[in-house]
Amino acid sequence: MRLLKTVVFAAFALAASGAFAQTIKIGFITSYSGLNGNLGPYMERAVRLYIKQHEKELPPGVKIELLTRDDTGPNPDKARQLAQELVVRDKVDLLAGVIFTPNAMAIAPIATEAKVPFVIMNAGTAVITTRSPYIARTSFTLWQSSYPLGQWASRKYKTAYTLVSDFGPGHDSEDAFTKAFGEGGGRILGSVRVPLQNPDWAAYMQRVKDARPDCLMVFIPAGKTATAVMKNFGDLGLDKAGIKLIGPGDITTDEELPNMGDIALGVTTMFHYSAAAERPANRAFVAAWKKEYGTNETPNFLSAGSWDGTAMIFEAIKAQKGKLDPEKTMEIFKRYKNADSPRGPISIDPETRDIVQNEYLREVRKVGGQLANVELETFPSVKDPWKELQKKK
């Protein structure tokens, strides 16, 4: 009898709390295993840190529940299945996360069919946002970094060689750099695309060395691969042969720099985020990160993308007082602006639902005895150049 009473009481308590509390469910898909499985936590930690800091700003009674799922690396089939389950079974209000382009592409039709807003916090192939009207991106596109990089490089170097991973973002990076470098009067000596997973770098590096370009532009998915590239670059003596290594920031991400060693010194990259940036908003972000996760931990660009993505989701929740309507949410996303993100001023382009942000030219230098990406030059408010080119066609 007592048990029955307890149960009835508990049921009432639940029902009562249900009447007031509103839980916003976010289905968060990223990679915790497989290629770049170490990067998933950088995203999740950023989201959790933002929620922890800003939870009290939510309308009264509104709570956020984060449902995390592992897509096991570039595995579109798995990602699609997870998204479908999150939508059908867990009835999430929003989808978010995703490191790899193929996974984002596979999830896009689900977002469209289920009318679930989908915030992309990393995957950077330009075309992704065109795949569903319910996608908004807070990370970057490869064109955003590689195109200005090509413009800058063409003023400094005469010849270049490109080496990219053979998948969507790699093709984008190669296309963007080649176009800008050519427009600036530079000459591409050769281009090579390497398999996404586990390639042997030495053979490719030797080929580049034999071609003797002034600079080598490399894109590979950020993470351990970057360190392997850097090591092979040094081991085969490309630096001594006078070849400069440049690329979008994936080759010198903040969390991998300590593993790379001094060979990374002087590598020039174009990117939207560096943990070493001096902006007050970034300093506060890095300090909060270290306080939460330990002094040896540093956020990286995935953290920045996830942080801003969560901020954007918060804005939509606050504006709608906790009752999310997919269409209204997308309208709010399209107008989203933040003048003071850790990476500087950002906004969402209402036409393309893609991010507009500053790109920074950085060089790896020693700051206080540690390698860091030091920002030298700013290319303000870069819209995705690929979408701008498509408009002109």
Binding site: P41, R69, P74, R80, E85, P102, A106
Partner: protein
């Protein structure tokens, strides 16, 4: 311990054999939120069944069965995305034909070898197919995957919906046909001959059985079944990625079959159910460490249940053993 199967005079379907189908239909009505997982399980059952035919009954050890699954998946996808043919049955027929052709051609070559050589050759074949799919970006989408797969409503009426209702019933129907075929096969003289080859190849040669051609035959048939399973995956996902090819899916499938019980027909049913449900639960609880759980499960099976889950059931319930006549003839 002998495995079941083989020629028997009494090949009628016994009542417990209807249980999986009743369970599947019950699942359809009782667990509407789990249908996409359910469809996935049904696909892997068909795939495992195809492996059981060659591994469990004919004794062909392979690490490359994903070659046929992946080829089927890609052919169904390409027929739809590149040629614009949206009829589900045409896509499936194309996938089955392509996988069967690959099975016959490669089988004719590699089945002349045995044991480790055979194992390496099967692995090589799926690796080659994987590399082709990776490189032929214009056809397969490469590492980005093949999107834009369209499947018209089945029989003009049943659209593939977000909840996976159509997908589930469609996969169930195809699996049922696959099961009827596999069952008929292993209870036939052909099946008995396969069991004989597995148990003692020399003796089969001695009694004048065409060992090589029987192996090529069953290998091709198994490839067709795996190709159909691949086509089902493409049609329910409307997407094909590189992860359907290579060592990993082959190994995973082998694990599922061993988990269920090899050479038992129903091992192919129980293995994928147990593996995929365990994976689903673990991955939800521990998105970062779920592989550990799967690993522990496998260690437990290898240590305590050598015959897989069905082997365990045998131990506890002796009457559940396969029909005595089947065993006798297999001996």
């Amino acid at each position: 311990m002998m495995h079941g199967g083989g020629y028997t005079v009494d090949a009628r379907i016994r009542w417990p054999e209807w249980l999986p189908w009743i369970a599947a239909l019950a699942g359809f009505f009782l667990l509407p939120e789990y249908l996409s997982l359910g469809a996935r399980i049904l696909i892997y059952i068909l795939f495992a069944l195809s492996l059981d035919l060659i591994l469990g009954y004919a004794g062909i050890i392979t690490l490359g069965h994903s070659a046929f699954f992946g080829l089927g998946a890609y052919v169904a996808g390409i027929v739809s995305a590149k040629l614009g043919i949206t009829d589900a049955f045409v896509q499936m027929a194309a996938a089955a034909a392509a996988a069967g052709l690959l099975g016959a051609l490669t089988g004719a070559v590699i089945l002349r070898t045995r044991a480790l050589t055979l194992l390496m050759l099967t692995l090589a074949i799926t690796s080659i197919i994987l590399e082709i799919a990776n490189k032929a970006t214009w056809l397969t989408g490469g590492a980005d995957g093949l999107s834009g797969v369209v499947v018209a409503p089945i029989l003009g009426a049943f659209r593939f919906d977000l909840f996976g209702r159509t997908a589930f019933l469609y996969c169930l129907a195809v699996l049922f046909l696959g099961w009827l075929l596999a069952r008929r096969l292993i209870y036939s003289p052909f099946g008995a001959m396969l069991t004989g080859i597995r148990e003692n190849t020399q003796r089969m040669h001695a009694i004048g059985a065409p060992v090589y051609w029987r192996l090529v035959g069953v290998y091709t048939l198994s490839a067709v079944m795996a190709g159909v399973a691949g086509a089902l995956l493409t049609q329910t996902n409307q997407f094909v990625g590189l992860n359907v090819l290579g060592f990993e899916p082959s190994g995973e499938l082998l694990v599922m079959l061993i988990l269920g019980g090899v050479g038992r027909l129903y091992g192919a049913f129980i293995g994928p159910v147990a593996y995929l449900i365990a994976q689903d639960l673990l991955a939800k609880q521990f998105p970062e460490y779920w592989y550990l759980g799967i690993g522990l499960l496998l260690v437990a099976v290898v240590l305590f249940a050598r015959g897989g889950i069905l082997g365990l059931i045998d131990k506890w319930m002796p009457f559940s053993k396969p029909a005595a006549s089947a065993k006798a003839s297999a001996r």
